[in-house]
């Protein structure tokens, strides 16, 4: 196992705080950088993310070339607020409208590849309460400064915003520690060196993202890691300590659904790599129970596990980006 990676490819955000140097490097390489924020009802946090990135990384330094919000059908004022602060706002359904429509974060990230024009794309969850521009410049830093790095993943300690506004530090996320880490340990021990495989904060070169499939929902973070690892190896991946990210707390049931989807994404890849063989296919329903008036009732969550193909295979994309 290559256990050197942790040492060599793990960075701290403070190593990239010289933003001028990053801008110089970006100009020398003649590349553009796009920020994509996927949203579903994030009216409380979206404005601050846009304002801070625009003020710090577009006005003060020219590190970012565009901020794009891709929305999954928010019913609150997310879209209105985002455009009032000058982000380019799209409904996921309106992008590549001829394709069948799906709903989920992965879908938005995939469609962002078509909408954005940058050579580097930075993805940030839109629910970060303590947003700071380091979330962008530190993810971009390794991509700009080290030629071998093509994909960079954020990690942090995870205090959780609790009811009465007190912050309590936690370990890695529960799904990370209870699902992903055991799976990685069993099948890809090298990948355990990635501290927070599920973090929603990462950046990478377009040339990488366009060549891998995107599960439309919760599987996206896991699949990007597995597919990148399989295609290009561990050395193109870096991780950056972003220090602190204030999260909302999720109940165990939603984490269960998330785990269901992740397990499925994972197992599919095991099969494809010939590392395991399933005698029969998967069921598509996650079944949880709730106590109702008439006793226990199943509460069913469906996930067909649909994945978008590498976007480079889509003719409209090839047309737009003149890919061969």
């Amino acid at each position: 196992m290559n256990s050197n990676w942790l040492k060599k490819n793990t960075f701290h955000h403070s190593e990239f705080k010289d933003i001028n140097r990053l801008v110089e490097e970006k100009e020398r390489k003649k590349i553009k950088i796009s920020l994509c924020l996927p949203t579903l009802n994030e009216e409380k946090t979206i404005a601050k993310e846009i304002i801070i990135m625009k003020s710090e990384l577009m006005s003060r330094y020219q590190l970012l070339d565009e901020i794009v919000v891709i929305d999954s059908g928010s019913t609150d004022r997310t879209m209105e607020i985002a455009s009032s602060y000058g982000a380019d706002v799209y409904k996921a359904d309106d992008i590549l409208p001829k394709l069948e429509k799906f709903k989920g974060k992965g879908e938005n990230l995939w469609k962002a590849l078509y909408i954005t024009t940058g050579d580097i794309i930075v993805y940030l969850d839109a629910d970060i309460k303590n947003i700071h521009h380091r979330f962008v410049y530190a993810l971009v830093g390794p991509l700009l400064l080290f030629d071998n790095i093509k994909y960079c993943k954020g990690f942090y300690d995870r205090p959780i915003a609790r009811g009465k506004k007190k912050l309590r530090p936690t370990g890695g996320g529960r799904v990370t520690e209870l699902v992903i880490r055991p799976l990685f340990s069993l099948f890809f021990p090298e990948l355990t060196q990635i501290m927070q495989p599920l973090s929603g904060e990462y950046a990478g070169y377009r040339e990488l993202f366009e060549k891998i499939p995107f599960p439309i929902g919760y599987g996206i973070e896991t699949s990007i890691i597995l597919d990148t690892y399989e295609k290009w190896g561990l050395d193109v991946i870096a991780q950056v300590d972003l220090e602190r990210r204030v999260h909302r707390n999720q109940d165990t049931k939603s984490l269960g659904k998330m785990s269901f989807v992740i397990l499925k994404t994972f197992c599919k890849r095991l099969e494809k790599l010939g590392m395991a063989e399933l005698k029969s296919g998967f069921f598509n329903e996650m079944i949880q129970y709730k106590l109702g008036k008439d006793g226990y009732q199943p509460d069913i969550y469906k996930d067909k596990g649909f994945e978008r193909p590498p976007i480079i295979e889509i003719p409209e994309y090839r047309e737009k980006f003149k890919a061969i």
């Binding site: 625009k54 003020s55 006005s59 004022r77 607020i81 000058g86 506004k165």
Partner: protein
Amino acid sequence: MEKHLDKLPSFVEAIKSMKETIIANIVFIGQIPAPTFKEKRRADFFMKRLAEFQVDECTTDGYRNPIGIIRGTSPSKPPVFVVAHLDTIFEKDIDHNYTVKKRTIKGAGVLDNSLSIGILASLPEIFRKLNLRFESDIVVAGVIQSLGRGNLRGIRHLLKTWDTPIRGAICLEGVELGRLNYYSEGMIRCEVECDISPTLGPLQKFKSNAILILNEVINQILELRLPQRPRSRVIIGKISGGSKHGTIACKAKLGFEIQSDSDKMVKSIYNDINDFVFDINHQNEIELKLKTISNLSAASLKYNHPLVKSAGAVIESLGLKPICEPSESELSIFLSHNIPAVTLGITRGENIYLENSTMEIEPMYKGIAQIIGVIMAIDKGVCDE
């Protein structure tokens, strides 16, 4: 003077086009907790920010008030001060994450006074954008240890140790847009503390009750005959005490302020209260103490002082009506040093002293234009007599 008033409405739009920069500064600063006496992190950030915006000189004075100096074109003119207090009433463990929406910013301390500090930090960039140069140096200062027990220590120190003349000063408060303060009342802020040593057993029932003792103090305060002229009052603002419903209270505390246009009257009311507190103390076998926490002397510009007049004109040129009331704060320290000064408010909002205090974004642009208008007036010489 008329000429610079004409420009103000067009400034409002230009300032608005910088909203991301201004809001980012408010958010970055407001999210760093700065309870009185523990302002260091916020002060450091404020200074770093000024430096990043290429302010000519960024330092702290001997008392660690962070200041930035934007050099003017005429070294012979004394500087213009723009100040806001840096501290807030919120402790460090309160959630300081701000929420920005289309029209509002919500978060602990935003109105008092993080908004003002965020604007101080944005002023250099705003001047650049509007292409403004001044004859005087502009000194922007976030003063520490202002609130409550801080008792305006930061500003007192800054002015005590600043050894050259100051041309005029503007103090900033988050709310209320349109306020124009140019006088402060005399004030003594006091606490009466009653402490009765706990006794055990059957005697407990017969001992004095700290709350009832304070009740007696309150009654006597209410019986004081206060004159209409000079206007004077005692405000009873805080009370706490006791421990359980069924137990006689051993400790209780009362906080109040004596306010008057006349310092002499403040002093004489204070002496009256001191006398009867002394009496009550001796009639009962208890410990009753009157403590002064802070005080201010009354000071004022004349209502027809050119600074007051031109600040009023600036406010009116933006379609607002100036509201004049007395104000304690930094203003009184400038005035007591004979430096012409006014306090201005920046926007509207609600829940000023609560964790969820909320400011309106839109009126702020006028609020900022108004500050620039008054700086221009001082720079043109309205304070030079």
